[in-house]
Symmetry: C2
Subunit: 314 residues, 2 copies
């Protein structure tokens, strides 16, 4: 409870993971993209859902994080996703992140087995905390039932907060259910538990409710405007700027989001390799790309300084 | 199509993974359990859903398989689960299984991302096949939408079979939808694609429909009777023996299956450690164990030669 001042607040992005044509991660593109996000004042929630992180091995995640550190990026801006199906993997990734000095970790519950109990999930988180056994550990719970199919209930949060008050630092709520976000803001934010909206479409409401910001896919392509709303949400035009954010997101959401964001970066940076996704995802086809680019153009949206994202040269 | 005579047919079990009290896998108990299954003529579908395999790391799975080989068990009786969320992990585990001489592999689709296309899943399987690049590879597709939430459709099977006729060897159908199993039997079994029921409750119907057997959790506790039905399904009393199998399974299914089977082995072997499960699962509590044991007793069921499963001595 006493270190909330040191925590990352604001806008974070589940950082897209660029792949080479052979489907290996493109380390130089990844470093470039992270530097670009930092420049936009966006925090690095590397290895989130939109990072295709669940399609990466533990070794790949470790080496991508290491590449960021080697490139001189500040771990205080990083909140890597470390929750996997398998307890040993979650422990290994979490320990690695803490030892690297990351600001926190974003932790999915174990998500293969369905219909598991809060008791089982509590034991899973508790085991990770006990095994990592490091006072610096800060966990942001990752509630995304539409994908994980395993919810993190309010009762579970309450028990975790009571048992590990210093370590349980907050949540990313990607439930898509505002009532749930509102309940978290009401029940837990006053205890220093930072509630991040899982999408910028509820950023204004989340800030009005006392929340900490948002962790949002679209931060990968539309960082400037999202950060601007975060910083100036009390100003009189905030509602109209919220609407503008929503309109941009809606264009991407006409397509599968990850391929669409990668396609937009590929098209506007001129670096076609950026369009690559790892199976089971599929890249947009040619006509989808054309249509997406056209719609973005018509809306007046452009990815800021997209050219700087191009290429594999370091 | 030309090697169907060498494939495993009959009853396989997703082998329970015994854990020590500290939640590490108990290698000696695992080896004992596998030897016991083989003695009962049950094949080893190690690393299935009921093996808590999705709670194990890649390294743990590799070393458990290696322990079986070191103990002299025949890889021709083994069909390890090798499908994970992450392509590199699936490739690594599949390659390891093939190089070990395993009869085949049971492959989940990548299961984190939901709503993915058949095209994306096809690319995932194709990539594994191309990367492993070994003529000995035989893949059993693992269709278990209630848990994975990612189905393997009939259209996907058709495309995979057409593209990789020698490698795509069959399916475990755990859909719980007999119409789906029947369609697979009708469409694909005649092409040498072995359809295994995902539960012994439809073993008789599956055999009547020309299927290859079943891969079933309950094989871990009730192997003798299940194998007996498989071997004598054409006899006149097979329907009543099917009913008896169903009745036994129904007792275990009153509880979460994995903890219940482990509790039954713990209780009847006298080895309490067998009751251990890895989070997010939770072991049965004392009164549940008492009730389960009582119900099994009343039904006249007992685990054959349970005493031989006890203890960590090799």
């Amino acid at each position: 409870m006493n270190d909330t001042g040191q925590r990352f607040r604001g806008v974070m992005s589940p950082v897209l993971t660029p792949f080479n044509s052979d489907l290996t991660p493109s380390v130089p593109r990844f470093v470039k993209h992270c530097k670009w996000l930092i420049k936009q004042d966006v925090g690095l929630a590397i290895f989130g859902t939109n990072s295709e992180a669940n399609s990466l091995s533990v070794a790949e995640k470790r080496s991508l994080l290491q590449a960021l550190l080697d490139a001189g990026l500040q771990p205080s801006k990083m909140v890597p996703g470390t929750g996997t199906c398998a307890l040993p993997d979650t422990i290994e990734l979490t320990r690695h992140a803490v030892q690297a000095g990351c600001s926190g970790v974003l932790m999915l519950p174990p998500f293969y087995y369905k219909g598991v109990s809060d008791e089982g999930l509590f034991r899973s988180f508790a085991r990770v905390i006990d095994s990592v056994s490091d006072d610096r550990l800060r966990i942001y719970l990752y509630h995304i039932p539409p994908v994980s199919q395993v919810p993190i209930t309010l009762a579970l949060i309450e028990r975790l907060l009571k048992t590990f008050p210093k370590i349980i630092a907050g949540v990313k709520d990607s439930s898509g259910d505002w009532n749930n976000t509102a309940a978290m803001l009401r029940e837990f934010q006053p205890q220093g538990f930072d509630v991040f909206a899982g999408t910028e479409t509820i950023l204004l409401k989340t800030m009005q409710g006392g929340g900490a910001g948002c962790i949002t896919a679209t931060g990968n392509v539309n960082p400037t405007a999202i950060v601007h709303l975060y910083k100036t949400w009390t100003s009189t035009d905030s509602e109209s700027r919220q609407q503008a954010l929503n309109a941009t997101r809606a264009i991407f959401q006409k397509y599968p989001m990850i391929p669409a964001m990668k396609a937009a970066i590929a098209a506007t940076s001129g670096d076609a390799v950026w369009g690559t996704v790892r199976p089971p995802l599929v890249e947009l086809n040619g006509s989808e790309v054309t249509e997406l680019v056209r719609e973005l153009d018509v809306s007046g949206f452009s990815i800021p300084d997209a050219a700087s994202l191009s290429g594999s040269a370091a």
